[in-house]
Symmetry: C2
Subunit: 342 residues, 2 copies
DNA sequence: CTGAAAGCGCTTACAG
DNA sequence: CTGAAAGCGCTTACAG
């Protein structure tokens, strides 16, 4: 490997001067700069990253740890994080822990020990509390997106799942529905729990009774939407509307209704959460799901801004930034009066 | 930041001994080892990554550069790469260039200059030829998946797109179809070009005339499947079967046929490429697309194996590993005799 | 405008 | 079994 000394020798200057050129410092004679750059070009020299980080205590990298890469709206987030970080001349590297805690610890150590200047945790797990607490204690710059801990003070970007869910159900009620089901996510996670809570609150505030048989608990896994909706459709007194934990379940459910001859939205209104339609690369259904939309772009922008602030000053107080979701009007919900004739 | 010297002092030993303990070297008295570990625990010490890489010339990281993260079968690849690398005690970090060449160069420099011991390029672009050539010249360990260059000798993992496409069309022919259309990808990319070539070859070998109006050129972008199939459906003499560049187009096309009242597979058989069904987190269509399946698991396994070999010995000759695709029987193709009555 | 020297936090022969 | 010393490839005061 050619190093800074080789360049210095070839250009007939000192290492110091080469360093100055590399880092675009002012105060180098134009002539010298040219000579150095020629040498760099000729030897195909790239400064050693490890050495630079060691001395400058900066890596120019933001690390992002995903619990698992999955094909949802959050993939788009990755591209956006990259985009915003580039504006600060920062690289972003991602890794997936494949849902393995040991793997997560390995990556956290890797990043915090100098490979990155800051860390964004995405999709944290209740099992991560200890790790998060440790990073926090060390004052290492950290931003958590969709935090699952209430009790740890960290930079946190969240969306208002509770009110989002409430708005979704409220919308169904305004359409005249009173028999409204909910297909949950994994309620041991905060996100799913809050969406369930929002669902309950909307019913309560509108004087609608909560019915156990209208709430199907799932882990939000594959096919959970279709499996859950089957249980609901064949109830003696089936609901006329369903609020699903997320869009994947929503589309999955629509698919299943089609198979069993139930028409959306005429027979059954369905509303989802996340609004993944835009990020799909093909039409996921002929019916576009009505859904609560997350402001992914803003989330990415503020995650990067927060982490940069925290890199600038490690003493900055942790901030919690909450975003509202917005109702996206798709084609999967209809007015109950118009559609049902009982 | 606490460093190795702090630990040495607290444990009452030398830095050398601490280093030995950190790296699990033999020849340290058990008693000493315990003392050192206690000190490490107490001070919450994590060895500085940059310093370690600098001296050991190893980072323990494999870098993966994606052109862009998108929600296809290749996302799954990311998780699998992580899994296989973990078996070698290697971390994998991913980054996306958002289709920006400048960004790609930045990441290549970052990784090759010490941040990673090897690089996997995924979704390389014809514009990348120069970069790839440069990495290759420097003997830096490199594996390219789905290479777009014929003329550069690098470690390359490819799937046999030509024969895969041929098999797909052959299958349609065996079903009795003779009017077979093709919706292409971006044929300036090798992948799409080869699938088109395979399509042509299958027709030729079966004495079926190539018809210009049956081939719709697209860039494989969003909605390209539905847009293309519309052009085909309304031809005076429409085809009875379509081979699409990829599954997203295939599903997109199915969706469109439904909207215009054409039934798949009765009126129109559709076969795709990639078989993304398994990686979708919801049912993408009530009709499961027949498709050419890529052996993603094997691709990931051999990408990691190749890069590790190359890290061990930089002088290893570049290898090209080609995988065959396999026909997955879905529900979107039918026998022409049974379905059409003209 | 330029260079000699110190130091970042480790690991690795080498010596004992 | 343990430690002193050199060195990895840079950057950063400091001096001129």
């Amino acid at each position: 490997m050619t190093n800074i000394f080789d360049i210095a020798r070839l250009a007939g200057v000192s290492k110091t001067t080469v360093s100055r050129v590399i880092n675009n410092r002012s105060g180098v004679k134009e002539e010298t700069r040219v000579k150095v750059n020629e040498a760099i070009e000729e030897l195909n020299y790239i400064p050693n990253q490890a050495a630079r980080s060691l001395v400058s205590r900066k890596s120019g990298v933001i690390g992002v740890i995903y619990n698992v890469f999955n094909a949802s709206v959050y993939l788009n987030l990755a591209n956006l994080l990259e985009k915003y970080a580039a504006q600060y001349n920062y690289n972003v590297v991602f890794c997936s822990t494949n849902d393995d805690c040991g793997s997560k610890l390995r990556y956290v150590q890797y990043f915090t020990s100098g490979a990155a200047d800051g860390l964004i945790l995405f999709g944290s797990d209740c099992r991560d509390a200890e790790v998060v607490q440790k990073i926090r204690d060390s004052k290492y710059p950290l931003v958590v997106i969709e935090n699952y801990f209430n009790d740890i003070k960290v930079n946190d970007i969240i969306i208002d799942n509770y009110n989002g869910a409430k708005k979704a159900v409220q919308y169904l009620i305004e359409l005249g529905h009173t028999k409204i089901a909910h297909i949950t996510g994994n309620v041991s996670h905060k996100v799913a729990f809050e969406r369930l809570s929002g669902y309950k609150a909307a019913l309560r505030e509108n004087g609608i009774e909560y019915r156990d048989e209208y709430v199907v608990f799932t882990d939000a896994g594959e096919r959970s939407g279709s499996e859950a909706i089957e249980k609901i459709i064949f109830l003696n007194d089936p609901p006329t509307a369903v609020f699903t934990f997320n869009d994947m379940q929503g589309y999955d459910a629509i698919q299943k209704t089609r198979e069993v001859g139930v028409h959306v939205p005429q027979d059954m209104s369905i509303i989802g959460f996340d609004n993944i339609y835009e990020v799909m690369h093909y039409i996921p259904s002929s019916i576009r799901l009505t859904s609560m939309m997350q402001p992914i772009d803003k989330i990415a922008e503020s995650a990067i801004r927060l982490i940069m602030e925290n890199i600038e000053s490690r003493e900055a107080e942790p901030k919690v930034i909450s975003f509202d979701t917005e109702l996206y009007y798709g084609e999967s919900c209809s007015n109950r009066e118009l559609s049902c004739e009982d």
